[in-house]
Amino acid sequence: MKKLKLLGYGIIALQIATAVIAALSIYTDLTSFMGSLSGGENGGALRLENRTDTVTGAQILTIKVNMQNKGFLEIVATFRLRVLTEQNEVVTEAQDAQRIPPGGSKELAATVTISKEEWEMFQAGTSNISTAQFFFEVRSFFDLIGFGASIDVPALR
């Protein structure tokens, strides 16, 4: 009978732990994700830098985002940038991930390089580059609970 009572308390403890972990993680993930991408006090929205490599003539595209952890748990923020063709083949991709403690903020930067030939074809309208895919993800509670979004932006010539 005593064992059953202990088991009952164990079940209640597990259920409460599940609810607390779920609430803290989802709150941390959502507030960090929304706060960073909607643009907070320290910037936050995407910043684009574009330059040409003077030696090779390649286009170097860097996208930066300032991620802020507005929750209660440590997060791992990931930002990935992919350049895709019409057939969904990856032309080039870059990824950055940072571990951010509660209340902290870090900049994520992804840099992709498009060769001179590909860039010239793209500007001439003969390249099959069609989409830039942005992927953001925030994971918390030992990286076990995550929230992310992927957005495809059509390439404009």
């Binding site: 064992k3 599940t18 076990l144 957005i151 495809d152």
Partner: protein, 142 residues
């Protein structure tokens, strides 16, 4: 008499939280938003509220059965076990936003924009809690 009152009282949380509250909330959601959710990301809010109501009725009926049956009756552990299974289904259904088979890995959106939710660990904890509670039912009542 006391048992009947207890049985009736035990149905109140199921009726309130799974039938009344979702149906009342549904009335406040604008039709445009319901259409956008259904057409844009495939979430049928009406279907979800209907399913919640059906689960609420099932859990209320099982609760009545459990409370009305005698201690030595086999109906009591059967009602408890079925109730636990239905509750587990309810959690998976809510976490999966209407699709319990996602097991916490939710992927909603259309071409061009996708939202990903990874709640597999929460689902795992819920399944473990359900499994342990079945073990308790098994140990105490069979």
């Amino acid at each position: 008499m006391k048992r009947a009152i207890r049985a009736a009282a035990s149905t109140i949380p199921y009726i309130v939280f799974l039938i009344v509250v979702p149906l009342v909330l549904l009335r406040f959601i604008p039709a445009e938003l319901l259409n956008a959710l259904a057409g844009g990301i495939g979430i049928q809010v009406q279907t979800i509220t209907t399913t919640l109501a059906l689960v609420g009725i099932s859990l209320a009926a099982l609760s009545v059965l459990k409370n009305l049956s005698r201690e030595e009756s086999l109906l009591k552990p059967i009602a408890s076990t079925v109730g636990s299974i239905v509750t587990l289904y309810l959690f998976l259904y809510i976490i999966g936003l209407g699709n319990p088979l996602t097991f916490g890995s939710i992927n909603i959106g259309t071409a061009g924009a996708t939202i990903l939710l990874d709640l597999k660990f929460i689902v795992l904890l819920i399944i473990v809690a359900s499994a342990v509670s079945w073990n308790k039912i098994d140990s105490s009542q069979f």
